[in-house]
Amino acid sequence: MLALADVQRQMRDAVVGGDASVAVLLVGGDRPAGRLAIHQRHFEASLTAAVMGRFPASSWLVGANRLEAVARQFVHACPPSAPCIGEYGEGFPAFLAEAAATSHLPYVSSFAALDWHLGRVALCTDGPALGRADLVLVAPEVLAGVTLTLQPGLWYAHTGWPIDDLITLYLTDTAPEAFHIEPQDVRLEVRGSRGAVRFTRLGAGDFSFRSALATGESLEAAALRALTADPGFDPATALGSLLDSGLVVAVPTSPGGVLS
């Protein structure tokens, strides 16, 4: 008998790569390789279904059969790395960008990323939001250096295509017979909570500000980024708007203190 690690390497190669040489070690029916196919099929079918379930709008855009063929390639090339299958598939948009079957759709990767994140943020849960009045508790001398904690169901994307218009056709079931799509600079804020989602286009300044805050940059650093993107950006107005939108859930008031 081979060592357990060697047995499992051979079994992995059979399940993921289709190499059935492990069958000589197996018993089950007259020809165990036939039973090995049960595990091979389960791996491919269950994960392909999981990917398809996470990209419903992409399936609409690309066509279910075509997308499923790419998803099958994806599960063999990039198996999951963790048992929470709901988290599997984040790399699929990039995989789609390289797939021959979708090479005629230059926006497919951006569109699939939006599809993925709509599903992800819909499962998030908004926390109680801070308002403008809460911010007066933050010492003025530390305000510029604080990092805000934003709602968990947020995603910011800067794309070269109007993918929001395109996915709206899917979400509202209003696709025309033909849809002409032109490159366009689009900055999106995607927000979701408890099953509901919405997306909004932002100007260059607000997008830079909010997306920088979402990645953990300080208020000052985010404002500087925004001013670089839009010299007319007004940090005070933007911060007020952020609070009014209910996007801020926590802010440090002093070293060691957090308002939430």
Binding site: L4, V27, G28, G29, D30, R35, S81, P83, G86, C124
Partner: protein, 291 residues
């Protein structure tokens, strides 16, 4: 939440995401609910709803992702996440499978078979102890559904499970449908399998539907696939009655994971389990009464 001892609970159902909002709204008439933590760890909204259900129902956590049989070790990061969920909802039972699914950095999304050898026993026993330490709970280990075995195995599955109980203090989740299915596929007597399990270690029973397919390994024969996509079949119900006579009353779960029906169908299957369990115990009562 009910204060009925775990051992006396009436049958429960596997709680799947399509049913969770209805379960919160209607509190289905079942004894308990079992969840796969993997469905909740990446879904904060579902987790929020589960919190509400955990106040009303005993919950069992049945993990499919710890991979106690992997030669590369258990997924410690996943164990940490499962522990956090356990601490949050305080389940009455915690269980998983005698199988492996993780290979290096890959999770293969299946419950793959193990050779039953001394080496495997050492590996699984050590990792079961790690799992129990990581989760802070006694772990119930489920017998697998088998399509394949290993020519190099040196002990039976029953002996392997029994040795794990002795070495680690783990207990057993006996999936009765798996016993029927594996007995059919691998050519052993399901009742003899149940007879071999240590009675005191069996803490929970599972029942689920399976699908018969043409067996590519044996022309003209059929292989039973553990699809959890249909009602519990009659032979599994019959074996369940036998299991109740052998083990006594145990918390029993109806599993249905594919082609999921309406919640009422699952509740009906759970009631069927309760009825069969009650009927199976009748001869015992008559026998005791005649003494």
């Amino acid at each position: 939440m009910s204060s009925i001892p775990v051992r006396r609970l009436s049958a429960g159902i596997g709680l799947r995401l399509p049913h969770i909002e209805e379960a919160v709204a209607t509190s289905p008439a079942v004894g308990w609910l079992e969840i796969h933590p993997e469905n909740f760890l990446s879904n904060p909204h579902a987790m929020e709803l589960l919190d509400q259900l955990a106040e009303r129902f005993p919950i069992s956590v049945h993990t499919v992702g710890l991979s106690v049989g992997s030669a590369c070790g258990i997924d410690r990061h996943h164990a940490t996440r499962v522990r956090a969920l356990i601490d949050r909802i305080d389940p009455v039972l915690v269980s998983g499978h005698l199988a492996w699914a993780t290979h290096g950095a890959e999770y293969l999304n299946d419950l793959l078979p193990l050779p039953y050898t001394d080496e495997t026993l050492r590996v699984v026993a050590a990792q079961l102890r790690q799992v129990q330490d990581a989760l802070g709970r006694t772990f119930l280990l489920e017998n697998p559904s088998n399509y394949l075995g290993f020519a190099g195995s040196t002990m039976t599955e029953v002996d392997f499970l029994t040795a794990l109980v002795e070495r680690t203090g783990c207990q057993l989740l006996c999936d009765v449908s798996n016993v029927h299915l594996s007995g059919h596929n691998m050519g052993y007597d399901p009742r003899a399998y149940l007879d071999g399990l240590p009675v005191d270690a069996v803490r929970e029973l599972h029942l689920g539907g399976f699908t018969a397919e043409d067996d590519e390994a044996t022309p003209g024969a059929q292989v039973l696939i553990d699809t959890h996509a249909s009602r519990v079949a009659d032979p599994a119900w019959e074996l369940y009655a036998y299991a109740i006579r052998r083990f006594g009353h145990r918390p029993t779960l109806i599993e249905w994971d594919n082609d999921i029906p309406d919640l009422g169908t699952l509740v009906g299957e759970a009631r069927m389990a309760d009825a069969i369990a009650a009927g199976a115990r009748e001869p015992e009562r008559s026998h005791v009464g005649a003494r």
